[in-house]
């Protein structure tokens, strides 16, 4: 059993008073106090086409078990982005399987259910043919 700690801090001055969110978690197995102990390792890939690419296949996890996915656009552009989607091939902006967009520097950490279906593959689609780099890591049980 491994111990994986993840801490988020969000600070904002949107309101007239400071907003500070600080939360830590231990990534545990499904309905368990035992930690996740498998990982894909860190993946780093350069993209230079706008076609959608599968970065995580549903078979990488076990259906019904706990998984976490960390993804980050390592660039700095606030114009170019990656769509991230749970979809069967295309990460379109108007698909209800699209999660969101990662501009340069943006990161996300989400739970992921590896339901045994292509609808739970994770795809990304760059917004440009200019080179962009994505890094991602899956934590699973």
């Amino acid at each position: 059993m491994a111990t994986i700690n993840a801490t988020i801090s969000v600070n904002s001055d949107i309101m007239s008073y400071p907003i500070n969110i600080n939360t830590s978690m231990v990534m545990n197995k499904f309905q368990s106090c035992n930690g996740l102990d498998e990982t894909s390792g860190m993946n780093v890939k350069k993209f230079n086409a706008t076609s959608a690419v599968k970065i995580v296949d549903n078979t990488e996890g076990t259906a019904g078990k706990a998984s976490k996915v960390y993804i980050r656009n390592t660039g700095s552009s606030k114009t170019n982005f990656f769509y991230v989607a749970l979809a069967n091939g295309v990460a379109a902006s108007d698909s209800d399987e699209t999660i969101g967009k990662l501009y340069g520097g943006d990161w996300m950490l989400i739970p992921w259910v590896a339901t045994a279906a292509t609808t739970h593959d994770i795809h990304v689609a760059p917004s440009t043919t200019e080179e962009m780099t994505l890094e991602w890591m899956v934590f699973q049980e």
Binding site: I4, V10, I99, G100, G105
Partner: protein, 143 residues
Amino acid sequence: MATTTATVSINSSDLIPGQPLSINASHTLTKSGLTEGLEIIDMGRGVLTEASAADALAEALGTADTSNWIYLCNKSTNDLHYIKVGIHDTLIGHLGAGEWLWMPWNMGDNVAEINIEAEGVTGSSITYEYAIFQESKTLPAKT
């Protein structure tokens, strides 16, 4: 212009033998294609009951395909409790007791709501906290 930053650190000394894991990342939330910061926020705390169906944490009320961010935390301390998190009909994942998520939400269309549902122990309740940082939000029409 508002400035919102989100920082993450992921650490493990024993996940990969001989290779301590240390991921650190930080970003500033900006509007789509701009360097201007997000200026709309909705945050709060609520309770979900296990027997009920999925509820919309946030409706896709605003301009489609924009830059919005979701923070959600399952405040339960019961390991059996988890929250199903989805976008419309698509399940994203299970948020276990004490766990949080941070994800973009582009509101791809007007039915792309963020929904959550308590699961795990029949009849029990799960407390959650959330914050939604948005580029665009249209208030619901008066009834």
